[in-house]
């Protein structure tokens, strides 16, 4: 228990550092959003109006960075992420409308990819040297092909030419979004091709990692013991896989942390509404509040995923539970 408290404190510290860096980062970008906005409006507005715009951004840049920082922290604690400059909506509402799409698509793909890769990797490691090994170069090929190319080709061949899958978007445009069967079915149908393409392009990593760990584990004495004990083959494989999967669990947590940052290329290729696309627009529009909101969101998920991985690891590997003497 003390161990978990220790970790939590460490995570709180990391969170604070991340928020501070998050606050400072946009300020390091050249230019600032008010200048950009004024630039766009030059000739259309009077100097009084320009001044009004300046003031409407909270007194603008006359405040010191330090006081801005404390205001920022204060607002964060109240759950206020500010208002987007480019999209005239609160950052939280924009995030709420985009994040679920990304989590749904990338999250599901990541989990499928992890499961498929880990299970096949375990089998490949166990049957090393068999004909199944030819799966590895195949999987690696798909990972090596640049994603936008793979995605575009798949879209062209399977959706556009063969018409096995719908072409663009996240759901049929004829439907009203909501929790009814037709919409959910359409959602799944439109998700198929993006999910397949992501799994194809990412499964090799899981597969190779698991296979290599499995090969190491199979050579361990405790696996030999399991065989010598006359345990059923299924149990012997499980004993090896149980130990081999530990590094993959750590990697999974990192991958889950990155789910929210989205896969920009996937979203662009399949015209999927998600965070990647949102972030790209926010950066090109110098939309500080939105950029900060997205980054904060990503930071939080990465931290949460890491914490989760830490806890799962404690559960799975008793050796990590040993407490260091105070």
């Amino acid at each position: 228990m003390r161990l978990i408290g220790h970790r939590l404190a460490l995570y709180a510290l990391t969170l604070w550092v991340a928020i501070t860096v998050n606050f400072l980062l946009p300020h390091l970008m050249p230019g600032n959003p008010i200048q950009t906005m004024i630039g766009k409006l030059t000739g259309q507005v009077t100097p009084q109006e320009i001044n009004a715009i300046r003031l409407s951004f909270g007194g603008g840049l006359n405040n010191s960075l330090i006081s801005q920082y404390f205001t920022y922290i204060g607002q964060l604690l109240h759950g206020n992420l500010g208002v987007s400059i480019t999209q005239s909506a609160t950052v939280s509402s924009i995030l709420i409308s985009h994040v679920p799409w990304t989590i749904g698509l990338i999250g599901v793909s990541t989990i499928i990819s992890f499961l498929v890769g880990t299970v096949s990797g375990a089998l490949l490691g166990w049957t090393r040297g068999s004909r199944l090994d030819s799966l590895i170069p195949t999987a690696t090929f798909f990972q090596a092909v640049p994603y936008f190319f793979l995605g575009t080709v798949m879209l062209l061949v399977f959706a556009s030419n063969l018409r096995w899958f719908p072409v663009l978007g996240a759901y049929s445009q004829n439907l009203v979004p909501g929790w009814h069967w037709a919409f959910v079915a359409s959602l799944l149908r439109y998700g198929e091709l993006p999910v397949i393409s992501i799994v194809l392009s990412s499964v090799a990593g899981w597969m190779l990692g698991m296979r290599n760990m499995m090969i190491t584990m199979v050579a361990e004495d405790f696996v030999l013991m399991a065989i010598a004990m006359g345990l059923p083959k299924r149990k012997v494989i499980m004993a090896a896989a149980r130990n081999a999967v530990l590094p993959s669990i750590a990697n999974l947590s990192l991958a889950i942390g990155l789910v929210v940052s989205g896969a920009l290329l996937v979203e662009l290729v399949f015209n999927y509404p998600g965070v990647g696309d949102l972030l790209l627009n926010a950066i090109s529009g110098q939309d500080y509040p939105l950029i900060q909101g997205i980054f904060l969101c990503i930071t939080l998920t990465v931290l949460a995923a890491n914490l989760l991985a830490d806890l799962v690891y404690l559960l799975l590997d008793p050796r990590t539970r040993t407490e260091v003497a105070p």
């Binding site: 166990w126 049957t127 090393r128 040297g129 068999s130 004909r131 199979v218 050579a219 361990e220 004495d221 405790f222 696996v223 030999l224 013991m225 399991a226 065989i227 010598a228 004990m229 006359g230 345990l231 059923p232 083959k233 149990k235 012997v236 004993a239 149980r242 130990n243 799975l316 590997d317 008793p318 050796r319 040993t322």
Partner: protein, 397 residues
């Protein structure tokens, strides 16, 4: 089946060229014989056993035409340096040899016991996975050198017993399994609370005791000890060996004890075989071997370790290092390191032959009657029959 890649032949594709299979004259399992005197109390009979690592041109012969046998409730010691093939031999016999190890020929028959239908003998070399699973642990168990790596690191000690009992004693209840595990721990002098520990939380001695308790879970007829105490300090080593022999006296299992410590072996084995470069070079009773070794290599091994009892002797060791199995010297493999090598040793391989007038054998030209060479005095002593290792007094000390 000549390959046994970790006991999973059908999954692991270890390609064996046709023709590598040994031909046997009897079926794979349960050949019932009646009153075969030669197999009377014999539980393990291994003949002409050869093991290679690799296939085809790259094959390296790790065990070459070895015969060993073991009687019920006796201890067979296998001695030799690293790379002499002692572990390979035993792992191959029990079909635990990992790829690229391949059994190239020979027989290994294990006597499962006698009932109304006669003796049940299993041919280990040709047994199927299923048949092997029936023998493993319930008849033949094994204790490995490093208990830390032999125990699954993420599984509690109790669960390791649980796994074995669940697989082999399906009628046992959870409580029965637990109390069996506790009783086994008590046998090796450990408290029941160790069952809730993970292997990394225990000391080396405790872990090795747990390995021994695990090996005895199903009351096997044969326990194989692969250098069980090499990783421990000398004091713990003595304690554990003392306990082991007490347990053997109680339970009556036979043992194959593999070690490079010939001196230790002479105190606890009934019979000892000495291996060098994959071949047996000497076979004798422990006392005879200790007091009157016949092969220069056995003498060298004995002089490499301090004796446990008796007068002080100078430790001399054996000059040189074990040969590369892929490029064995011509003639007797040991001749480049042998202080008594003769011209004949460089080009003729000595066969393992019985010494006239005794039941021991040696593979050395010095002891072949027609050699016409004087046998060195160190190798011609007569065994006098002084006291043997007694585990009971050993523990008391």
């Amino acid at each position: 089946m000549t390959t046994d890649s970790m006991g999973v032949d059908d999954v692991v594709a270890t390609e064996v060229p046709p023709g590598a299979l040994p031909t046997t004259t009897y079926g794979p399992i349960v050949a019932t014989t009646h009153g075969d005197a030669a197999m009377g109390e014999r539980i393990l009979d291994v003949r002409n056993f050869s093991v290679d690592y690799g296939w085809g041109e790259n094959a390296v012969r790790a065990v070459d035409d070895v015969d060993v046998h073991l009687d019920r409730s006796t201890v067979l010691g296998i001695a030799g340096e690293s790379g002499s093939g002692k572990s390979t031999l035993v792992y191959a016999i029990t079909r635990l040899l990992r790829a690229p190890g391949v059994i190239r020929g020979g027989e290994a028959r294990f006597n499962l016991g006698t009932d109304d239908e006669g003796e049940h003998i299993i041919d280990l070399v040709n047994a199927s996975e299923r048949e092997l699973r029936g023998v493993r642990w319930s008849s033949i168990s094994i204790v490995l050198q490093s208990a830390l790596s032999a125990l699954n690191p993420v599984v509690r000690v109790g669960s390791q017993f649980e796994q074995v009992l669940k697989s082999h004693r399906k009628d046992m209840s959870k409580d029965q399994r637990r109390s069996r595990a506790a009783a086994l721990l008590a046998m090796v002098g450990l408290d029941e609370d160790r069952l809730d520990r993970y292997p990394h939380e225990l000391s080396g001695g405790q872990r090795q005791r747990i390995m021994i308790a695990l090996a005895l879970t199903l009351d096997p007829q044969l326990v194989i000890m692969d250098e069980p105490t090499t990783a421990l300090d000398v004091v713990t080593q003595r304690e554990i060996i003392g306990e082991l022999f007490e347990l053997r006296a109680q339970l009556g299992f036979a043992m194959i004890f593999i070690t490079h410590d010939l001196s230790l072996l002479t105190e606890l084995a009934d019979e000892i075989v000495v291996m060098y470069a994959g071949a047996l070079v000497e076979r004798a009773s422990a006392r005879e071997l200790y007091e009157a070794p016949r092969h220069p290599y056995s003498l060298g091994l004995l002089n490499s370790f301090p004796p446990m009892h008796g007068e002080r002797t100078e430790l001399t060791g054996i000059p040189g290092s074990p040969p590369d199995l892929a490029h064995l010297p011509t003639g007797c493999s040991f001749h480049p390191r042998c202080p008594y090598a003769m011209a004949r040793c460089t080009n003729e391989t000595p066969p393992l032959v019985e010494i006239k007038g005794s039941d021991r054998s040696v593979a050395c030209w010095l002891h072949v009657g027609d050699a016409g060479v004087a046998v060195p005095v160190e190798l011609s002593r007569v065994a006098t029959g002084t006291k043997k290792f007694d585990p009971a007094t050993e523990v008391a000390r």
